[in-house]
Symmetry: C2
Subunit: 374 residues, 2 copies
Amino acid sequence: MTRFDFSIHARDGKARTGTIRMMRGDIRTPAFMPVGTAATVKAMKPADVRAGGADIILGNTYHLMLRPGDERMARLGGLHRFMGWDRPILTDSGGYQVMSLSDLTKVTEEGVRFASHLDGSRHLLTPERSMEIQRNLGSDIVMAFDECTAFPAPHAVAAKSMEMSMRWAKRSRDGFDGHEHAGRAALFGIQQGSMFEDLRRASSQALTEIGFDGYAIGGLAVGEGQPQMFEVLDYAPGLLPEDRPRYLMGVGKPDDIVGAVQRGIDMFDCVLPTRSGRNGQAFTHDGPINLRNARFAEDTGPLDPDCACPVCHGWSRAYIHHLIRSGEILGAMLMTEHNLSFYQQLMAGLREAIGEGRLETFARAFVGRYRKDG
Amino acid sequence: MTRFDFSIHARDGKARTGTIRMMRGDIRTPAFMPVGTAATVKAMKPADVRAGGADIILGNTYHLMLRPGDERMARLGGLHRFMGWDRPILTDSGGYQVMSLSDLTKVTEEGVRFASHLDGSRHLLTPERSMEIQRNLGSDIVMAFDECTAFPAPHAVAAKSMEMSMRWAKRSRDGFDGHEHAGRAALFGIQQGSMFEDLRRASSQALTEIGFDGYAIGGLAVGEGQPQMFEVLDYAPGLLPEDRPRYLMGVGKPDDIVGAVQRGIDMFDCVLPTRSGRNGQAFTHDGPINLRNARFAEDTGPLDPDCACPVCHGWSRAYIHHLIRSGEILGAMLMTEHNLSFYQQLMAGLREAIGEGRLETFARAFVGRYRKDG
């Protein structure tokens, strides 16, 4: 059994398509990871997440450490058994969400002190504790604990934040190694440096010196907008080892993903397809549509006529409009299933286009139609 | 194609097991009909409702006439196509729910005037309009429009209410007949008479003179409690034609159903498995349990060790406790699926026991264990 192996099958410009082999299964790249925050991809059974095309899902360390608690999860046999998903799971480090969701946070060199958003209980999250939690969860891909630099940040602030993240990356590596779990799991480092190339370069060098199985690009999709994100992505992936997977955290909209793949990204996660689905927004090849809109009340067509998912073959926009308007749970279920499938079909299309050397044509057609400006 | 045919395969005491044949499929009796109020069995895909063992579901005329509206439903091709359920659907008449859910209701001989609980719009529901709505929905089993007599009612009040319901039953018959839809659908009359045998007898006679495909017992499960309900069920089913299906409306708890089957009932509907499932209550052979309870936090066993459903084979009480506590949609999904399957497994057990002439033994064992007093 292979702990972690990444092989690139084809390249097209800066883009690559390949396979990550892990003990719990293969991950086809470029890959989209549905977000399963609280040990569930919201409104989806694991078998349907898989049927939609997912090879790997993401779990949130911050949420799970608070409820049900990582030690309880370990006693219950780990996250996979708990939620009934037997393929790879990537867990984030908790660093991003502790800052965005909890109260009374205080960041020091040691780590982050905070109060739970659920019950106000006090906690300390450090690189070492984050590694312990992710180990207790039984994560397959463990993320180093870092600070997601706030945007916008002056160079000096971004540098200081990145440098602490690099010291935390080393402590994460040390906290991860030496446990039996490290023989089954992979550890990814996270590049920071805000919008500054010199900082991204220094961060990449620090991470490479420590050595990781894969590398994430952090600190993007934080409000900078697509043009500035793409500016960073024009150089940031190339600063990371060419033979390791590159993971762009928290991205994004379909056209963000296309542009990021063109710039050399291999892995993505985002709450957009699941969260916006619950709120009534469906992704289609012609851009997003909001099913609450009265114009869909008697629309007998599918959510997206060019979608291959079971929802588009079973139910009309009129029906889903009715469900969303009525606050029915089935509305959230069908919208989530469609949106995740839409994302996975996009990833499959990107992989195929890279394999056949026609990514630019594919991207231009997809983005042009999606934005209706092509 | 048979419009409606009921054949009894076996009898055991007053109980019977048989098959209702209709154009959209067979209904094995005794049958439990999951409630699909607003064109969805809440938190369930139709295929999973079917996989759980349902031959027929129930739709609510009151809800559907208001949203999405019966005329819109007709334009969209009817309820079956709208919601993606191709087997039989029984629709209630709207009479019960207009009284329990709407505002400013006024009952006259003509019908019921009311204001929508959704937007306050004014409506008039009559026997003729109820037939029209159920026709627009494309119902397979149409229920006569009646007044569910409030409980408790003095004899004179119950008599007056029942007599009006019988006049409405005739108007329902007349409103149903003469349309093309009547060649594909069945019409059921509803026995009323509160807790009075003479009134139930007079009601049965009035209905039989009009003539229906099947007969419901209405006005029970309205707060009288199981002993008094069983007292009425000791005689009420026997007042109805022996060769027609008998449907006990809105019942009930698992032990209610067992006792009613022993008294000659063939069909049931109830929101209990779906609604209480969403609220965290699971039905088990050892009685109901509430998954919110902290004692389930580390319980690795299934909801019910003797249940054959996919939920009991896939997830633990600990996981479902976590989902319910976290307000996760998947909690409602899994609880509903289990509860509906539990009910359908009970119906299958009852059918088999009747077929093998051992209903009393089955009932004593089931109810004794369920109530923990056996």
